[in-house]
């Protein structure tokens, strides 16, 4: 057995740990088996399909997307992350109060089918939208920007079209995110 070290981080706005976690345990296993947060989906274990991504919130308020299947849980020590379970605000009983704009755009556009890859797409699109907030994109470049940001995400059911349309429409409908 490998050595265990204490791990502390913030998940969905709550402090977790310190808790001893074996070195070498991928973050996704920690989420699934130790925390029972199974919405972050295992797809390949190689960092290829991006079904397993979570949002990392930096101290300066910026966000980035990180895979959890290839990064050790300890890589996230001290970080603040948001898993799919923490995207939409919930009440004390865990019921969803309101969907995020990305989540709403996806369901309104019938974007997903089986839904296994959906948490990764929500994560990727959320980080992309956050990047537009800080750095708007020209209208002519919008489609390519979406493709550049989301092409790493694999989906086997949908052919991507409805996911991409949903993100495009949301970006266009959000003031200040797309400029002429």
């Amino acid at each position: 057995m490998s050595e265990s070290l204490p791990l502390s981080l913030t998940i969905n706005g709550r402090a977790v740990g310190p808790v001893d976690v074996p070195l070498g345990m991928p973050m996704i296993d920690f989420l699934h088996e130790h925390l029972n947060l199974t919405g972050t989906r295992f797809g390949c274990g190689q960092g290829i399909c991006h079904a397993c991504t979570v949002v990392i919130e930096a101290a300066d308020g910026t966000t980035s997307e990180s895979r959890t299947c290839i990064f050790d849980a300890h890589y996230f020590n001290g970080k603040s992350i948001v898993t799919i379970e923490g995207q939409a605000p919930r009440d004390a009983d865990g019921n969803v109060i309101e969907l995020t704009p990305v989540q709403k755009a996806f369901i309104d556009n019938f974007a997903f089918q089986c839904g296994y890859c959906t948490p990764g797409f929500v994560t990727g699109a959320t980080v992309f939208m956050d990047s537009l907030k800080r750095k708007p994109v020209r209208r002519a470049d919008l489609e390519q920007a979406i493709e550049d940001a989301l092409n790493v995400h694999l989906c086997r059911c949908t052919g991507y079209v409805r996911y991409y349309e949903a993100i495009r429409d949301l970006a266009l409908a959000t003031p200040g995110y797309v400029i002429d």
Binding site: M1, N12, E33, Q87, V96, I107, E143
Partner: protein, 982 residues
């Protein structure tokens, strides 16, 4: 809280992290008794979805106009709820222990040498498993692969390769390692990954796969008149059964004892309700006659080769093995509770009924007494690959070795490639004969040989489906088609979207494009001259159901700018992009929906306050079927259900039996040929939805209409309806309720109250059956009278105001089971003429091929589909787009070697196996169109399976247009193209 083994503090999300399991409302449903063992089933997802559905915003999923705002299951999927079987652990499941064991397989990466033993020394002392399970342990405990429920050899012969035997296929499990805690389990699994010294091999025996699985032949000799009775056909005379000399088919009369294909209940599309009542001698005479006609066809082909007026095109093609790559890898969780003698199973499956039956057979005589099996299923996805897969049975096997703990098996992606079901590779030889002057096709002769790998599974059915789809969208006066299912040491192949027809139709569509060039006829025009139409006979002799719409679709494709302007576009594109070659290709197919022997069942009832409750056999596999079924309810009666449960596999209101024969069915009102469906064959919207629509229609006619008439008749002189003439035909479903004939719309809730007050029928349970023809039966229904409907079983509930005498009849699951007074089932042998329900689908593809590298970029994509009358257009287009992407993957990038360096070696993952990404599918440029329904009563048709087929051949034809080179070996990779380019 601490982990009991490591003493580490464990953070549980129950206290401080948001999550939901939603299992508190889970209810168990009795599934039946198999092998003397009671089996219950529960769906974790629907129960959870009901809970989600009861809260906002999920409760608003359907608009007042009956159109869904979003999928019924959208909220839970987009917020990360536990929905897949893979999401659940024992601690999430009511009544299961809070801790559980985890297990993984050691697998053979050689299938040519004897398995001797395993060597776990690499794990060191800390990571040794808590339990090692070998074949010998299973043998001692009498845990064996079921041989009866799906037929001998269907699931193979051994779960784990016995010592001293050669594994039947690459990647075959040889041992199961069980750990009582996750951390050691995952560390051990990581340690053994990719090691080649864990399995010890002995004598070199060469490959030892099972015997080949099946070989059959369909011959049809008709004429230019597609309506004329043929001299010989499958429908009329049956198939010709062959045998093998090695891998070479052998036929009567040389062959005296034909190979009997394994029993494949539910899904063997070749086995009719009953074999035609012929003696063995008669059958032999038919088969020998068929071989005579086959010889005549061969002679005619030979003659055509030297005839100036005939085109004879002979081509060999190959369609590769691919991995379904469902994003949820195979997984399961099972717990044997020795105290209560109960086996609990959580499975990811498209066929829970099949899992229950197989599990019951497995444990019937094993060393661990089992009285009850509780089966749970989650929502899943597999594109067919989780249909009758052995994986859930491995989960059952593992359950007995957890030392009292539940045992979880969950493939990682390497393991999924190594042992997950594959799409069959096919070697295909086709001869196409056409008349040069008319362009009419005259003969189709083909051999379609699929490689089933080391387990039979559905290989015979897949080979049969290949020949049934082989004609694509054309009428052939004469045909001779051979279906071959071979065994090999490759990883098992089974059900996968396309199911044989994809492979056969792709090669023919490539040939038709080449034939058009040889005949100097526009490729769409050549298709038009040979298109199948309504009522035409297929190559098995069966009629084509409904308007085929082939010519409509061809006309639209021909008028599309991609096709119409292809020459000008090619010139302009290549001028603007030096080094690139532009091409446009088209293909069109007719793809079957349904499998023959299609069944459905549901129960729909309402309370006086209008609360509507649906229980349905349909279950969710990602397509949105559970959404569409509810929309159909709204369309029929003006209200969506308030509470739903899907995936039901037992209806107490419909106590049917499949024991017996069709002859018994006339006498026994409880008999049906088949009870419940699996989720496959693009069958849900038409075939499963058929029963939904019939139940809705029954309530509309026999409940809502009389209730509305009663309300409209209130008052003096016969009420508001009396001065008018309002009939059932005038009634319409509107946003405000049932209206029509000038009357006030009445909301469903008001009608429900009136129906209960009058004691009308307030609940209907129905079972339907089709073997390319619907079973019909007459029922004498109290409050209604005699009715003949396309169903073979019917039960009803009566409203609160019904008489005591009527209520006393409600003794069958709370319903009055109406014993049919007569029934008509489809004739024996009709299955030999299948398929008879098809959807037309076409595709235009534009490609740019890079000179030098041969790289192909899809630059234009237009899909055409006859979806009938779509129930939820957004779901149809999503399926269509997904089908296009999957087809492009098959056309251009996805491929698995069968043997050496193939997936059985355990090293394959998405880094080597290229799946289409958004940039590969012209995500912003693709377009689509649907043939508008011909009438508002047109039914919906199957969808994605049809769409993914023509895009493959259209891509090949586009490459041919771009490069001048034709390719018949899939996929059309850049290296093949680069080599062929001058």
């Amino acid at each position: 809280m601490t982990d009991r083994r490591t003493e580490m503090p464990i953070v549980r999300p129950d206290d401080d992290l948001p999550r939901r399991t939603g299992l508190s409302r889970r209810s168990f449903i009795r599934l039946g008794v198999f092998s003397g063992i009671a089996v219950t089933l529960s769906r974790v997802v629907p129960a959870q979805a009901i809970e989600v559905d009861s809260t906002k915003p999920a409760g608003d999923w359907m608009g007042p106009d009956g159109r869904p705002r979003y999928r019924w299951d959208a909220i839970s999927k987009v917020t990360g709820d536990k929905v897949f079987a893979r999401d659940f652990r024992a601690r999430d499941l009511a009544g299961w222990p809070q801790t559980q064991a985890h297990a993984f397989f050691v697998k053979a990466t050689r299938a040519d040498r004897v398995f001797e033993d395993i060597d776990l020394s690499a794990l060191g002392p800390d990571l040794q498993p808590d339990r090692v399970v070998l074949h010998e342990d299973l043998a001692n405990d009498r845990i064996t692969v079921p041989q009866k429920v799906m037929g001998h050899g269907f699931y193979g012969y051994d779960f784990l390769t016995p010592k001293g035997q050669t594994p039947r296929m690459l990647g075959h499990p040889v041992a199961l390692l069980v750990y009582s805690d996750f951390d050691r389990f995952v560390a051990a699994k990581r340690t053994l990954a990719f090691r080649t010294d864990t399995v010890r091999y002995g004598e070199d025996t060469g490959p030892k796969p099972p015997a080949n699985y099946g070989v059959d032949r369909w011959v049809r000799v008709g004429s230019d008149d597609p309506f004329a009775e043929p001299l010989f056909s499958g429908l009329k005379d049956g198939p010709i059964r062959g045998g093998f000399d090695g891998n070479t088919p052998v036929w009567p009369p040389t062959l005296t004892e034909p190979l009997e294909p394994p029993t494949q209940r539910l899904r063997d599309r070749s086995v009719p309700l009953e074999r035609p009542p012929r003696s063995a001698d008669e059958q032999q005479r038919h088969e020998e006659a068929g071989m005579g006609y086959a010889a005549d066809i061969a002679a005619e082909i030979d003659a055509a080769k030297s005839a100036a007026g005939k085109l004879v095109l002979e081509r060999s093609g190959f369609s590769q093995s691919i991995d379904p790559s469902a994003m949820e890898p195979d997984n399961g969780n099972a717990w044997y509770d020795a105290e209560t003698r109960t086996l609990h199973i959580l499975a990811a499956t498209q066929s829970p009924y099949g899992v229950a039956q197989a599990a019951a057979e497995m444990v019937k005589d094993c060393a661990f007494p089992v009285d009850t099996i509780d089966l749970l299923t989650g929502t899943t996805v597999g594109y067919g690959s989780k249909d009758y897969s052995i994986f859930p049975l491995y989960t059952v096997m593992a359950a007995f070795y957890g030392d009292g703990l539940p045992v979880r098996l969950a493939n990682n992606r390497y393991e999924q490639f190594q042992m997950g079901m594959k799409r069959h590779s096919f070697d295909i030889d086709i001869t196409l004969v056409a008349d040069r002057e008319s362009g009419h096709f005259e003969i189709l002769k083909g051999s379609y040989a699929c490689n089933g790998g080391g387990r039979a599974n559905l290989s015979v059915a897949v080979s049969h489906e290949a020949i049934r789809g082989a004609q694509s969208m054309y009428y052939f006066p004469k045909s001779d088609l051979t279906a071959v299912a071979l065994a090999s040491p490759a990883v098992e192949a089974g059900s996968m979207r396309g199911f044989g027809a994809l492979q056969a139709q792709t090669i023919l569509e490539l040939m038709v494009d080449e034939a058009a060039e040889a005949l100097d006829i526009d490729a769409i025009e050549l298709r038009r001259r040979n298109a199948l139409a309504e009522g035409y006979a297929n190559t098995q002799g069966g009629p084509q159901g409904g308007a085929m719409r082939n010519v409509d679709m061809l006309d639209r494709a021909a008028a599309h700018p991609l096709w119409r302007d292809r020459a000008a576009r090619k010139a302009a594109y290549e001028a603007a992009n030096p080094g690139q070659r532009y091409g446009v290709g088209y293909a069109q197919v007719n793809k079957v929906y349904g499998a023959g022997g299609d069944v459905s069942a549901l129960a729909l009832e309402f309370e006086p306050d209008g609360r509507l409750v649906l229980r349905h056999c349909c279950q969710e596999i990602g397509t949105g079927a559970t959404t569409a079924q509810q929309v159909m309810i709204w369309q029929a009666i003006g209200k969506a259900p308030d509470a739903v449960t899907f995936g039901i596999t037992d209806f107490p209101e419909l106590p049917l039996t499949t024991d017996g024969s069709a002859a018994d069915g006339v006498k026994n009102p409880f008999w049906t040929p088949s009870y419940l469906p699996d989720m496959s064959s693009s069958a849900s919207v038409y075939y499963l939805g058929f029963a939904t629509r019939q139940v809705g229609r029954f309530l509309f006619e026999h409940t809502l209409w009389p209730a509305a008439r009663s309300i409209w008749s209130r008052g003096v002189g016969g009420g508001g309806i009396s001065p008018l003439w309002v009939t059932l035909a005038d009634l319409r479903i509107t946003e405000d309720g049932v209206a029509g004939g000038g009357m006030r719309p009445i909301p469903f809730d008001e009608l429900a109250a009136e129906a209960h007050r009058l004691g009308l029928i307030t609940g209907v349970a129905m079972h339907t059956y089709s073997l390319w023809q619907w079973a019909t039966a007459e029922f004498d229904v109290p409050t209604v009278g005699p009715v003949t409907i396309p169903a073979d079983a019917l039960s009803v509930r009566y409203g609160n105001g019904a008489s005591d005498a009527l209520k006393a009849r409600m003794t069958t699951g709370g319903y009055d089971f109406i014993k049919r007074s007569s029934v008509t089932y489809p004739p024996n042998g009709r299955g030999n003429g299948d398929p008879m329900t098809n959807a037309a689908s076409g595709c235009l593809v534009a490609v740019s091929v890079t000179e030098g590298t041969g790289a192909v970029e899809v630059v234009g994509l237009h899909s055409l589909l006859d979806a009938g009358r779509p129930i939820v257009p957004e779901l149809v287009s999503g399926q269509q787009q997904g089908g296009l992407a999957m087809g492009l993957g098959h056309a251009l990038m996805e491929e698995l070697p069968l043997y050496e360096d193939g997936p059985g070696d355990g090293t394959w993952n998405f880094n080597r196996y290229k799946l289409p990404r958004a940039a590969d599918v012209a995500v912003w440029a693709q377009t689509s169109e649907y043939l508008p329904p011909l009438a508002d009563t047109d039914p919906p048709k199957g969808i994605a399976e049809a769409v993914m087929v023509p895009v493959i051949a259209a891509t090949g034809n586009a490459i041919a247009h771009a490069t001048g080179q034709r390719f018949y070996e899939l996929p059309f990779t850049s290296d093949k193209i680069a080599k062929a380019l001058p």
